[in-house]
C-alpha cells in the first residue's frame, strides 16, 4: 500500500529547490537624484522562499516593483525563466506567472471576497466580454470552472465565512488573506509578497506563516517576500537578501545572515555601550 511503501522517515521534505527562476543583475534605479537601488544582483531559485529584508527606505518595495515591471530600472537586466529583458509592463509580468500582494492592501473594497479573488482569474478567461455578459454556453462553462478554482482557494485559505462579505468591511488581517487569495488565483510561478504580516497580531502572523509554507509546499510556488518580523523571516525562508540604502549587504541562508556583522550593525542593531 502506498502509505507503507513510502520511505519510513516521517515528515520528509519532498520539496526540492531547483534551478534559477529569476536573476536580477546589476540593477540600479534612480528617482531624480535619489538612488533607490544601487547595483543589486541576486537570484531566486525554483520552489524556494526568499526573504528580502532591510531597514525603512532600503529599497525593498522598489525591488519588488522592478521585478513585476512596475518600475523600470535605468541600469541592469532581469532574467526570468531564461528570458532576459530590461523593460516590462506589469500585465506582461502577470501573464508570465508573476503575482504579488501590496504593502497597503489594494483590493476592490466594495466587492465581495469571492469577486475580488475572481478578478485574479481575469487573465485566464478567454471568452469575449459579450459572451460573459450573456453568461451563456462556453462562457458559462468557463465561469463555473474559474469559480471552482476560486472556491478551492477560499477553502485553502479558510475564508469561507467571508465569501460574500464586501472586503471593505473585513478586518485588516483578513483583507491581507483575501489579497493573497487573489494573487493565488492567477496560479503564479513566482509570488511576490510585500510585508504580508505587517500590522497583524501573533495569531494572525502564525496563520499567515502557515499559509505561505502551505502554498510553497502544496503548489510548489516560488515566493519572494519582504518582511520586518525577524522571527518570521528566520523561520520560514530558505534564503535572505539584506538591503540597506539601495545596496546589497548580504545574501545567504538565514543563519549566516543573522551572524553577519554588517547586517547586525545596519539592521538588527548593535549595543552602544
Amino acid at each position: 500500500m502506498a502509505a507503507l511503501d513510502q520511505a519510513e522517515t516521517p515528515d520528509a521534505d519532498t520539496r526540492e529547490i531547483g534551478d534559477v527562476l529569476l536573476r536580477v543583475d546589476r540593477i540600479s534605479l534612480y528617482f531624480g537624484g535619489v538612488r533607490a537601488l544601487n547595483n543589486i544582483s541576486f537570484e531566486v531559485r525554483e520552489h524556494e522562499i526568499l526573504a528580502i529584508i532591510g531597514p525603512n527606505g532600503a529599497g525593498k518595495s522598489s525591488m519588488l516593483n522592478v521585478i513585476n515591471g512596475f518600475y523600470h530600472p535605468q541600469e541592469g537586466t532581469i532574467t526570468y525563466r531564461g528570458k532576459t529583458r530590461s523593460r516590462m509592463r506589469p500585465y506582461q509580468a502577470a501573464a508570465q506567472g508573476i503575482a504579488r500582494t501590496f504593502q497597503n492592501i489594494a483590493l476592490f473594497k466594495g466587492m465581495s471576497t469571492l469577486d475580488n479573488i475572481m478578478t485574479g482569474r481575469l487573465l485566464k478567461m478567454h471568452q469575449p466580454f459579450w459572451m460573459q455578459a450573456l453568461y451563456w454556453g462556453p462562457a458559462q462553462r468557463e465561469e463555473i470552472e474559474h469559480r471552482k478554482f476560486c472556491e478551492e482557494i477560499i477553502d485553502f485559505l479558510e475564508i469561507q465565512h467571508i465569501r460574500k462579505t464586501p472586503v471593505g468591511r473585513l478586518p485588516y488581517g483578513l483583507q491581507k488573506r483575501v489579497e493573497l487569495g487573489r494573487a493565488l488565483a492567477a496560479q503564479p510561478t513566482l509570488l511576490l509578497l510585500d510585508e504580508p504580516m505587517a500590522g497583524m497580531n501573533v495569531e494572525e502572523k502564525e496563520d499567515m506563516c502557515r499559509f505561505i509554507l502551505d502554498i510553497n509546499e502544496e503548489f510548489g510556488t516560488t515566493i519572494a517576500l519582504i518582511e520586518h518580523d525577524m522571527g518570521v523571516v528566520m523561520d520560514i525562508s530558505d534564503r535572505v537578501v539584506v538591503l540597506d540604502y539601495g545596496r546589497k549587504l548580504a545574501d545567504g541562508p538565514p543563519d549566516s545572515v543573522r551572524s553577519d556583522p554588517a547586517v547586525v550593525s545596519a539592521y538588527l542593531g548593535v549595543g552602544h555601550d
Binding site: A3, Q6, P10, A12, E151, E218
Partner: protein, 670 residues
C-alpha cells in the same frame, strides 16, 4: 413487546424480509430501498450544497465498511471519529455499526492529552480523523495508545509530506472496500444481519466536569426507540431538514442528527465550517432545529444590536410589532382564543416584521425547535415563541439517550421541561431526586462498574442526581442538583441554583449566591451587571466611580430590590417553593471572580468557598443588622493582591405570605 412496534412512517413499522429494522445500518438499507432518490445528507463545499441520496449513502457506507474490514476491523472493535460534522464521519459511524463494531465519536476541540485518555480507555483500534489538525493530535499521542492501529484521514490538505505507516486516506479505504465488496459478495449483508437491537451501538464519553470522562454505552434499542418515540410525538417525517452543527461526540447531535434522521428518514445538513454556521442556517432554512440556550441568546442579542443600528422607521416598526407579538403571539401559538382585531394586527406584524426577521435568522421553515442543557431565560424563550416559532424545552441526558421529558405543543412554559415521552416512567424520591426507567436507559459505563452501580438500579432505573417535581399541570420542573437542595428550618425546600437562575434572568443581575440550608430564611448576595446598571445609571445622570461605588447606591439597591421582590412573587405562586422566598439581600462590593477562587473557570459559583470567605456577611444577614463592614482581599490581573474595604448595606425584601403551603412534599408520578 409493545416497545418494538414503533409507529413512525408506515414503512418503518413494517419489516423487511421478515426481519426487524433494529439497527441503524438495517434502517439505512431500508431507506435506500424505499426512498433511494431522496436526499439523505448534504454538505456545503465549494460554496454549494453537495447532496447524497439514501442510495448513494448506502453504497458509501458499504464501501467504507468493507474497506475497514479489509484493513482488519472486526466485530466489537472500536472506531474513533474526530472532527466537525462531516458526511464521511457520519458514514463512518454507520459503517462501524454495520460490522458490529462500536463507534466512539470524540470532541474535535479536545487537546491531545484528553484524546489519549479516551482512545486508551475505549481501546480504540481505528480512528477516522477529519483533517491535518486532528491527525497531528492523534500522531502526538499514538505511542501512548498502543492499540491504535490505523488513522484514516478525510481531508488530505497539508499532509502531502506525512509518511507515517499508520496513516491512510479515506479514499484509499473506500477503494479497498470496493475491491473487497466485489471479491466478497454478500459480506456486507451478512454482517448487517448479524447485528441486533440489544448490541452496543455507540459509546459516548461525557465531558466530565469532575474527574475522568465516563463512556456511556447505548444499545441500538436505547437510541433507536427513544428517537422514534420523539419522532412520533412531534410528527417528524422524511421531508424534514436539520442542520448538523453541534459536536458529533455530544449525545444531542447523535440523537437529533443521526438517530432521528434514521428513524424518520429526513435529511441532515453539514455546514461548511464552524464560522459559517449562521450563514448556512439561513441558506438552508431547516424545519427541525436544536440549540442550547446560549445560541438563542446570542441570536437575540444580535437582532437587538442590529435593530439599534437600523433606520428609525424600521426600529419603531420592530418595537411596536414585537410588543404586539408579546401580547398576542404566545396565545396564538398555544391555541388560545384571540380577538379578530388582535389577530389582524398580528397578521400585519407577520407580514412586516416577524417573517422577514425569521427569514434573516434562517427560521422561516421551522416546525419544531428545541432547547435543553440549562435553564433558558424566559424573555429569550418568549421572544422566539412570540414570533410564531415553536421553540420547546426538553430534558434528558446522555445516559437516557436524551429524549425522556419534552414539552407538548400548546403546553409550553418557560420554567418547566414538559411531560414524559412514550414508554418513560418517572419517579421522584423522598429526597426529591428525579429517576427514570425508559427504553433509553443506557447499558453501562464502559469499564466502570462502580459508576454504573451508583447511577443505575438493578431493575433499570436511572438516578439523574437532579432534583425536581411535577407541578399542578403535570409538567416536570427541574430545580437543581439533588445534592445541593436543602431545607430551611421550617422544612421548606430550598433550591439555591433555581433561585439564583431566577435572579440572574434579570438583566441588571450578573451573579447571585443564595443561602438557606439549615437557616430560618433565605438570603442572597447579588452582583450587579456593571454594563447594564452602568447604562441605567447614565440615563439617570447618576455619577459613579466604579463597581464598588455603583453597587452601594441607594437607587441601585431600590432597583435590585424590585427584582428580588418580583422573584418572591413568582415563588409565592409555586406550591413547592413558596417557602424559600428571599427575605434579605445585599449587593456585594466586588464582582465575583475566578481569579479570587469565587467562581470556577466556567463561571459557576463556588458556594462553599464564598460562604467561608464572607462568613461575616452571612452572619450579618441572619442577625438583622442593617450594615456590615467588609474587608476582602482581591487578586489583580497581574497577580498582585490588594484589599477592598466597604461598608455594605443589608436590605429586607418584601415576602408574599402564602397560606397553606406545601413544604416541598413531592408527589409521585409515573
Amino acid at each position: 413487546m409493545s416497545r418494538q412496534a414503533v409507529a413512525v412512517a408506515p414503512d418503518l413499522v413494517a419489516t423487511t424480509g421478515g426481519e426487524i429494522l433494529d439497527t441503524f445500518p438495517k434502517l439505512l438499507v431500508h431507506h435506500a430501498a424505499v426512498r433511494g432518490h431522496r436526499t439523505a445528507i448534504r454538505e456545503k463545499e465549494w460554496g454549494i450544497w453537495q447532496a447524497w441520496t439514501w442510495a448513494q449513502v448506502r453504497d458509501e457506507v458499504r464501501w467504507l465498511a468493507c474497506g475497514l474490514a479489509d484493513l482488519g476491523f472486526r466485530r466489537c472493535d472500536k472506531l474513533a471519529l474526530i472532527g466537525d460534522n462531516r458526511p464521511r464521519l457520519y458514514w463512518g459511524i454507520t459503517a462501524a455499526q454495520a460490522l458490529g463494531a462500536v463507534p466512539v465519536p470524540m470532541y474535535q476541540d479536545a487537546v491531545a492529552d484528553e484524546m489519549a485518555f479516551v482512545l486508551d480507555h475505549a481501546e480504540v483500534r481505528f480512528a477516522i480523523a477529519e483533517d491535518q489538525e486532528q491527525v497531528d493530535k492523534l500522531l502526538l499521542v499514538k505511542d501512548r495508545v498502543p492499540k491504535l492501529e490505523w488513522i484514516i484521514f478525510d481531508d488530505p490538505r497539508g499532509m502531502r509530506k506525512y509518511r507515517h505507516p499508520a496513516l491512510i486516506a479515506v479514499d484509499e479505504v473506500r477503494a479497498r472496500g470496493q475491491a473487497f465488496a466485489r471479491a466478497n459478495p454478500g459480506f456486507f449483508e451478512g454482517e448487517l444481519a448479524a447485528g441486533k437491537g440489544s448490541d452496543t451501538s455507540i459509546i459516548l464519553y461525557t465531558s466530565g466536569t469532575t474527574g475522568q470522562p465516563k463512556g456511556v454505552m447505548l444499545s441500538y434499542d436505547n437510541v433507536r426507540i427513544t428517537a422514534a418515540n420523539a419522532v412520533e410525538r412531534d410528527g417528524l417525517n422524511d421531508s424534514d431538514e436539520v442542520l448538523a452543527y453541534l459536536p458529533m461526540a455530544w449525545v444531542g447531535d447523535h440523537v437529533f442528527s443521526y438517530a432521528q434522521a434514521y428513524a424518520a428518514g429526513f435529511a441532515i445538513n453539514c455546514p461548511e465550517s464552524g464560522a459559517t454556521v449562521m450563514t448556512d442556517l439561513r441558506e438552508l432554512g431547516p424545519t427541525y432545529f436544536f440549540a442550547p440556550p446560549r445560541i438563542y441568546e446570542n441570536l437575540l442579542t444580535t437582532v437587538m444590536i442590529r435593530m439599534e443600528d437600523a433606520a428609525w422607521i424600521k426600529r419603531k416598526m420592530f418595537h411596536y410589532f414585537m410588543e404586539v407579538a408579546r401580547r398576542v403571539g404566545l396565545r396564538i401559538l398555544d391555541g388560545e382564543t384571540v380577538s379578530w382585531q388582535e389577530r389582524l394586527l398580528y397578521g400585519l406584524g407577520r407580514l412586516l416584521v416577524y417573517e422577514p426577521l425569521k427569514n434573516t435568522l434562517g427560521f422561516s421553515r421551522i416546525r419544531v425547535a428545541y432547547t435543553a442543557g440549562e435553564a433558558i431565560g424566559p424573555d429569550i424563550f418568549r421572544f422566539f415563541r412570540s414570533l410564531g416559532m415553536n421553540v420547546k424545552q426538553l430534558y434528558g441526558m446522555t445516559e437516557t439517550a436524551v429524549l425522556v421529558v419534552m414539552q407538548k405543543n400548546g403546553e409550553v412554559r418557560p420554567d418547566t421541561v414538559g411531560t414524559p415521552c412514550k414508554d418513560v416512567e418517572v419517579r421522584i424520591t423522598e429526597t426529591g431526586e428525579v429517576q427514570f426507567r425508559c427504553p433509553g436507559v443506557f447499558q453501562a459505563y464502559f469499564k466502570n462498574p462502580e459508576a454504573t452501580q451508583s447511577a443505575k438500579t438493578e431493575d433499570g432505573w436511572f438516578l439523574t442526581g437532579d432534583a425536581g417535581y411535577f407541578d399542578d399541570d403535570g409538567d416536570l420542573k427541574i430545580i437543581d442538583r439533588a445534592k445541593d437542595v436543602g431545607r430551611l428550618n421550617d422544612g421548606a425546600m430550598f433550591a439555591p441554583k433555581y433561585l439564583e437562575n431566577k435572579l440572574k434572568f434579570f438583566p441588571f443581575i450578573k451573579e447571585a449566591v443564595t443561602f438557606g440550608d439549615g437557616r430560618d430564611h433565605v438570603a442572597a448576595f447579588i452582583n450587579i451587571d456593571l454594563t447594564a446598571v452602568g447604562n441605567w445609571a447614565e440615563r439617570r445622570n447618576l455619577a459613579y466611580s466604579g463597581y464598588t461605588d455603583l453597587a452601594r447606591r441607594q437607587e441601585v439597591y431600590d432597583l435590585i430590590q424590585k427584582n428580588v421582590e418580583q422573584v418572591n412573587r413568582d415563588l409565592a405562586a409555586d406550591r413547592h417553593l413558596s417557602g424559600s422566598q428571599i427575605k434579605r439581600f445585599l449587593i456585594l462590593h466586588k464582582e465575583l471572580d475566578p481569579d479570587d477562587g469565587e467562581l470556577t473557570r466556567t463561571r459557576k459559583v463556588r458556594r462553599r468557598f464564598i460562604a467561608e470567605r464572607y462568613a461575616d456577611l452571612i452572619e450579618a444577614l441572619y442577625t438583622g443588622q442593617s450594615n456590615c463592614q467588609v474587608d476582602a482581599e482581591v487578586t489583580f490581573e497581574d497577580g498582585r493582591k490588594g484589599r477592598i474595604h466597604a461598608d455594605l448595606e443589608l436590605r429586607d425584601a418584601a415576602v408574599v405570605e402564602v397560606a397553606n403551603r406545601d413544604p416541598g412534599r413531592l408527589r409521585k408520578a409515573g
